[in-house]
């Protein structure tokens, strides 16, 4: 599918390019970043040059005949589907899952917490087969919708199911374990004995579990470590995850006081911490990301990103969608995978000894012989 978006892009870039006094050739740089190219459009401002190439990332499926096409809908938490964080992960999973079963997928973004119910209803009324709701805060609305629509399968990301509903799978993660491993890693890698965590909020349990798991992990590995954990509790969910400047300032403030490993978690705010650490590259400060392998999603921090405390949402969502297609879907809680991301460029910073230790801890955590002792949520 060819798009006219480059036209819009051209319009948006026009004043800027004009302001630069033609220093930059309008077409070239834009074309480079353009994944899908239309043949030269008539609009003069449109920097469209290259012939149609790769398919768009949001490629709509070919309408297949006969066989019933499974329709997958996704409702984000407040925020955008491209947040480089859990919404994006879940959407990638939904796309992948839908593609794997030759279904189609669409999303609706939430901009007001009051709209959860309504946004889910959107897919219900369009008779979607699978509805993915992303985020802890959509829990109640998802349960309600699931009960009201027993024929539709629901996947609630980060939603712990107290009383299982047959057609609702809560994809949950033991963030405390991921946090614990991150904490252990941080404590062992730190040279100064000071480690810190910059977290978006303590009111959203997954983030809180990451933070408290981190705390437990650090203390487990090095009881005397100097530990700083800062939660950004601001006005409401729409801000607390979206304040990268604060995340960065906090991370820098920690780095200035000798903290040399910083764990940043929670949407843009957490990403801000990674950016902050990247600025202290010369001081040897290391960053640890969250949710996905942020080496890939926050390339600016590549040079300092030791690892990420991952909860593998996309695969979890995708697997559940496939399960629907295979008829193996079951309600209740489904544990997604958590773990450490690869060390990438900084592999040399982690000694074999540490790696072994981390592996042991992972096994112990899985086996239950080692407990993080983190409650499900801040009490």
């Amino acid at each position: 599918m060819r798009t006219r978006r480059n036209l819009l892009f051209g319009l948006a870039a026009l004043p800027i390019l004009a302001a630069c006094g033609g220093e930059a050739a309008p077409a070239a740089p834009a074309a480079k970043a353009e994944p899908t190219k239309a043949p030269a459009a008539p609009a003069p401002a449109a920097p469209t040059t290259a012939p149609a190439a790769a398919a768009a990332p949001t490629k709509a499926p070919e309408p297949t005949v006969a066989a019933k096409v499974l329709k997958v809908g996704l409702v984000t938490d407040v925020g955008k589907v491209d947040d480089k964080s859990f919404n994006e992960s879940a959407w990638n999973g939904a796309k992948a899952g839908a593609a794997a079963i030759k279904g189609e997928s669409k999303y609706v973004e939430t901009r007001d917490p009051n709209d959860y119910k309504k946004n889910i209803q959107q897919f219900v009324s369009e008779k979607y087969d699978v509805i993915v709701t992303v985020g802890f805060l959509l829990g109640d609305a998802t349960i309600e919708a699931a009960k009201a629509n027993p024929t539709i399968k629901f996947i609630g990301v980060d939603q712990f199911q107290e009383k299982p509903v047959e057609n609702l799978a809560g994809l949950i993660f033991e963030e405390d374990k991921a946090g614990f491993m991150v904490g252990v890693l941080s404590a062992l890698v730190s040279k100064s004995g000071k480690v810190g965590a910059v977290l978006a909020t303590d009111v959203v349990p997954p983030v809180w579990r990451f933070g408290e798991g981190f705390r437990a992990g650090v203390k487990f590995a090095k009881a005397d470590a100097d530990l700083q954990i800062v939660y950004h509790s601001d006005v409401g969910p729409e801000k607390t995850f979206d304040d990268p400047e604060w995340g960065k300032a906090t991370a820098l403030s920690m780095a200035d006081k000798g903290v040399d490993v910083i764990f940043g978690a929670g949407g843009k705010t957490g990403n801000g911490a990674l950016y902050g650490v990247a600025e202290r590259k010369d001081k040897g400060v290391l960053a640890i990301g969250v949710d996905t392998d942020q080496y890939l999603t926050v390339p600016e921090a590549k040079a300092v990103l030791l690892s990420s405390g991952m909860k593998i949402i996309d695969q979890g969502v995708s697997d559940l969608i496939k399960a629907v297609s295979d008829g193996k879907f079951k309600g209740g809680n489904v544990n997604g995978k958590v773990g450490l991301a690869p060390f990438h460029d900084l592999d040399s910073k982690v000694s074999a000894e540490i790696k072994t230790k981390l592996e042991t801890i992972r096994k112990d955590l899985d086996a239950g012989t080692l407990k993080t002792n983190v409650k499900p949520a801040k009490g």
């Binding site: 599918m1 060819r2 798009t3 006219r4 978006r5 036209l7 819009l8 319009l11 239309a38 459009a41 949001t58 809908g73 955008k80 669409k106 999303y107 609706v108 973004e109 901009r111 007001d112 917490p113 009051n114 709209d115 309504k118 946004n119 209803q121 959107q122 897919f123 009324s125 369009e126 802890f136 805060l137 107290e162 009111v203 959203v204 349990p205 809180w208 509790s233 601001d234 006005v235 409401g236 969910p237 729409e238 801000k239 949520a377 801040k378 009490g379």
Partner: protein
């Protein structure tokens, strides 16, 4: 009197043209971000489809319509709030903060008091919301009247103070302590503090909002209080000459303005959410200004504008669902509407409507946001 009739006709025409023009420009933006299929007509179908989805999403089904109406309710309250302020010569940018404290206070009464019957408890909850909003707005009014501190600045600042206060209380003493709750919100209010449904899904706050709108109209245009308020709004010197206590009336105007915004919060608590949640007030401040201005500071205008804004917001979901473009397009359209209402010269220029009738006196033709029309309906 044909001139007056003509003026009134144009007065009603301009908002409509502003809306149409904003939608047209919005259409161009949607078109530009749509998929390209060869031939211009097909591109335009994308826009048609988008707007069709918008309308369907807002009114296409019973559920959609109910949703639109539910969303309209707080808009009408906050729009009236801003309008009352304008009519009293006060620019209330603080509906957002007043709504927040109103919701907090009503939720507090809603969940702490549990032994009252509905007929007492529910009004108590709503009145508490009113009172909290009135205090929050009244502070700005009092400061303006007593010290001259400009209400625009103080209400902006009070918005943030209110937001922070809400965050503090919702994370602290007002927080739902049940083990299941993990976010900054109050417990659910008692059954007796909830607005009963008119029909399933549609709470009776709709009746309340109609009643309040009529009441506001009546008070502003049919009572001595309203007469004084409008006098203060147009010419505070003349008002004090006429024996009006201007300080009291200004404070009153901001208090009532805040009260209406607080009531919006209370009705959301008692009718929709059954609790006060952090951050749900965000956006009402600026939207309500747009609604009051689009409605030319008349009650019927505010109601119509609220329906429009509610429909735009409600329909946005379906628009995104169908087209997968960002719902921010709605904000762009709203901003364009407001732009063209505020600067109606743009509309007059585009549609070749003559300039506004310049009255012999400059005061009446002033550019103040108070509508040129003195008629209230």
């Amino acid at each position: 009197m044909t001139q007056a009739v003509r003026a009134r006709l144009i007065g009603g025409l301009i908002p409509s043209l502003a809306i149409v023009t904003a939608l047209l420009i919005g259409g161009v933006i949607i078109w530009a971000s749509g998929p390209r299929i060869d031939g211009p007509w097909f591109g335009i179908w994308f826009v048609v489809e988008a707007y069709q989805a918008l309308i369907e999403g807002a009114f296409g089904s019973r559920a959609a319509t109910i949703d639109t109406v539910l969303r309209m309710v707080p808009y009408v309250f906050t729009g009236l709030a801003v309008m009352v302020g304008f009519r009293g010569g006060m620019f209330n940018i603080g509906a957002e903060g007043q709504l927040a404290v109103g919701a907090l206070a009503s939720a507090w009464v809603g969940f702490t008091v549990t032994s009252l019957p509905l007929v007492i408890h529910l009004p108590l909850v709503l009145l508490t919301g009113c009172l909290a909003g009135a205090i929050w707005g009244g502070i700005a009014g009092l400061l303006k009247a007593r010290t001259g501190a400009h209400e625009v600045i103080t209400t902006i600042m009070l918005n943030y103070v209110g937001g922070q206060l809400a965050a503090y209380l919702l994370n602290g003493v007002l927080r739902d302590r049940s083990p299941l709750n993990v976010i900054a919100q109050t417990p659910k209010v008692a059954e007796t503090a909830r607005l009963p449904d008119l029909v399933p899904g549609l709470h009776s706050g709709v009746i309340l909002v109609i009643g309040v709108a009529v009441l506001v109209w009546f008070v502003l245009w049919k009572t001595t209080t309203g007469f004084e308020l409008r006098m203060v709004g147009i010419n505070p010197d003349a008002a004090s000459y006429a024996g009006v206590n201007v300080v009291r009336r200004m404070t009153w105007a901001m208090g009532v303005s805040g009260m209406l915004a607080g009531l919006a919060g209370a009705v959301q608590v008692a009718g929709v959410n059954y609790r006060s949640t952090l951050g749900f007030n965000v956006g009402y401040g600026f939207d309500s200004i747009a609604i009051a201005l689009l409605g030319r500071n008349t009650v019927s205008g505010v109601v119509l504008s609220s329906i429009l804004f509610a429909a735009l917001r409600t329909g946005a979901t379906k628009l995104q669902f169908r087209t997968q473009i960002s719902t921010d397009i709605i904000s762009v359209i709203q901003a364009l509407v407001l732009l063209m209402i505020a600067a109606d010269q743009i509309i007059r220029w585009i549609y070749r409507i003559g300039p506004a009738q310049t009255e012999a006196d400059p005061v009446a033709a002033s550019t103040a946001p108070v509508a040129d029309s003195e008629s209230g309906r």
